[in-house]
Symmetry: C2
Subunit: 133 residues, 2 copies
């Protein structure tokens, strides 16, 4: 397999790029995460989103614990080659570890952040006693 497409990506000094996951059908931005070279290689090869967890310092195959995998339809790269955009289908409906569809559930109204989205799935059901994937 050629890796020229990976060579074209401008990873930062930690070897990471920002990744935006967008729902293919609704167009909603569901989450933001980071990926290293191996995470992107696996994302393309498996057709499922694999990120790199900065807090845990390792690969993070999305949905590994929760079962809420992200099927990847399309991988895009920006003009500077340093941001990736995934077009996905979120299995299980909840991309966010809080059990919401999208991580972007706070909207600024006046000078306050207001929660706009319902919890679809109890996070306890997603992760058991863990808080995060």
């Amino acid at each position: 397999m050629s890796e020229a497409w990976l060579d074209a990506i401008a990873f930062d000094d930690q070897g990471l790029v920002p990744v935006i996951a967008q729902d293919r059908d609704s167009g909603r931005v569901l989450m933001f995460a980071w990926a290293d070279r191996e995470a992107l290689r696996r994302t393309a090869a498996e057709g499922r989103a694999v990120y790199y967890s900065r807090s845990r310092g390792k690969l993070w195959p999305k949905g590994e614990e929760s079962g809420n995998v992200q099927e990847v339809h399309d991988i895009r790269l920006d003009c500077d080659g340093d941001v990736v955009l995934l077009s996905i289908t979120q299995h299980g409906g909840a991309a966010c570890h809080t059990g919401r569809e999208s991580c972007f559930f706070h909207r600024l109204e006046g000078e306050e952040w207001v929660v706009t989205d319902p919890v679809l799935t109890d996070p306890e059901q997603l992760y058991g006693s863990h808080h995060h994937e």
Copy 2:
């Protein structure tokens, strides 16, 4: 003016947060940039996107040179408080400094990045002899 909403944002160790700009009508993700506290304060106050240019080390009111300002309809924050999502209208039609609608104009096809979008506006017209805003 209360700044509690800004205090709720988890800026990184460089005082920045990633910002995703999404077209309100089409849902297309147009660009990715960074903002500091002052950039977000101005974005909210002016209703136009203001970023922070890491390469130039200063505030970057989008469209300042090109006239292609981004009217901001909605400001969202993610679950961890460390990523911002703007719902915008891109004036002039081109968010990207290459003169394209979106910065995400490379799509992975097989093992190659393919350019999917036409140039709408000659970058020379946007920025004169400058390459970038």
